[in-house]
Amino acid sequence: MGLDHDLDFDEVDTPPLEVADDSERLTIDIDGWEGPLDLLLTLARTQKVDLRQISILQLVEQYLSFIENARALKLELAADYLVMAAWLAYLKSALLLPKDPTIDPSPEELALRLQLRLERLNAMRESGARLMARDRIGRDIFLRGLPEGLRVVRTTAWDVNYFELISAYGQIQARNAPVMHVVKRRAVMTLEEALERVSAMLGQILNWTQLEAFLPIGAEPALRRSALASSFLAMLELAKQGRVELQQETSFAPLMVKARQGAGA
């Protein structure tokens, strides 16, 4: 981490410090830096080319002395610079004091973190500069200014086969053919049919029998519904004629039918 404490400060030639040392000036421009990290990086770069070798302690002292100078000259120094200064002052004292294993995180780790951040910011700053220094299209390098352009002319191949052609004609003909409407017979059982059917069946039925037993077996639902209604009416008619007896225990209970003794036979 390069926390060597005895590097000679005076060897370090820093433009920012020159500004700071220039007591003739009434203001120190901290707007030249984009925040405390930027200032720290500038200070760090004056130490060594390789940020991995910088002395954090030395860096901290440079920052604090810079801020101290700047504060004396410019009272409204931005708050984040002062926050950083306070934090670095703490870091400095922690680094100088005998090691206390109970302090978590250790000052060494804090220092390492600061160093890592500076390395990362520096890497991006250098990458940005390298990016900008590239030969850029539209600035250094030019594409053809007046390209004729390439064109794709689309032609359509219509897709239709012989079968589609003649079947289309067939369908026109079919459309134009006169249409005969046939109304389909609905499956119904008329009252007359029901009367006939029920009368015929009554002879074989001696006990009370449910009305549904008189319906045709295996009929379609539509026919069955019609037969039920017709057969019911037929039963009522037969009851009126005195040929059958009807019985129902409650509403909607099965309707029971029985031939009247000696009536129809």
């Binding site: 053809r144 007046l146 219509w158 289309a168 067939g170 079919a174």
Partner: protein, 209 residues
């Protein structure tokens, strides 16, 4: 690698990058006073002779352009297959069976109006052509099929088109919904129940008058 004349290179790059033809003065403003622009241009002109691009002088301005004999490369044709619309297929079929036939007649047979685009598509495809006018009031244009039409559908003559009786036998006179079912289930022919009356003749009136 050949060592190229710096003046020629400078003029070459300047003309290449410019978005409009340039006069010698305009070129000079870029390449500097100590370049002999006229000399560089004449060298360039020579160097590009016979290449895919050429240096061209028009009036007082210079520019690069694609060699004239390669212009055809810059226009690429791409054929796209597209399904002919139902209206177009029906219209084509009617023209084929009834030609020469007027637009009004086509509409009378189809039972619906046809849009202008439908006939245009068929003519663009090269299958249909205008075939004179009918000498009735209004002198409507009549349409007929072309040789390309016959070629496309593999027909020797229009007489090869199946007659109404053939269509009926093939189940092609089924009403549309049945025919569609038939295409799906291939059962239209067996299903029997075809409506009678396939022998109804088309009444084509002249409705254009």
């Amino acid at each position: 690698m050949i060592e190229h004349d710096p003046s020629v290179r400078a003029v070459e790059a300047t003309l290449f990058a410019s978005d409009s033809p340039m006069t010698m003065e305009q070129i000079r403003a870029y390449v500097g006073e100590d370049v002999d622009v006229a000399d560089a241009l004449s060298k360039l002109e020579q160097q590009y002779q016979g290449r895919g691009i050429e240096l061209v002088k028009r009036g007082k301005t210079w520019h690069f352009q694609t060699a004239a004999d390669l212009a055809h490369l810059l226009r690429r044709e791409r054929e796209e297959s597209r399904k002919l619309s139902r209206a177009a297929v029906e219209t084509l079929a009617i023209i084929a069976y009834h030609e020469p036939v007027s637009r009004a007649e086509i509409e009378a047979i189809r039972g619906v109006q046809i849009s202008k685009g439908t006939l245009d598509v068929l003519m663009e495809a090269g299958w249909v052509r205008p075939a004179g006018r009918r000498e009735v009031p209004g002198r409507p244009l009549v349409y007929a099929t072309t040789v390309e039409f016959l070629t496309h559908f593999g027909l020797a003559t229009r007489r090869d088109l199946p007659g109404i009786a053939d269509l009926k036998a093939a189940g092609l006179l089924d009403p549309v919904d049945l025919a569609l079912e038939g295409l799906q289930g291939l059962s239209a022919v067996e299903s029997g129940d075809l409506p009678e009356g396939g022998d109804v003749e088309l009444e084509i009136g002249d409705e254009s008058a």
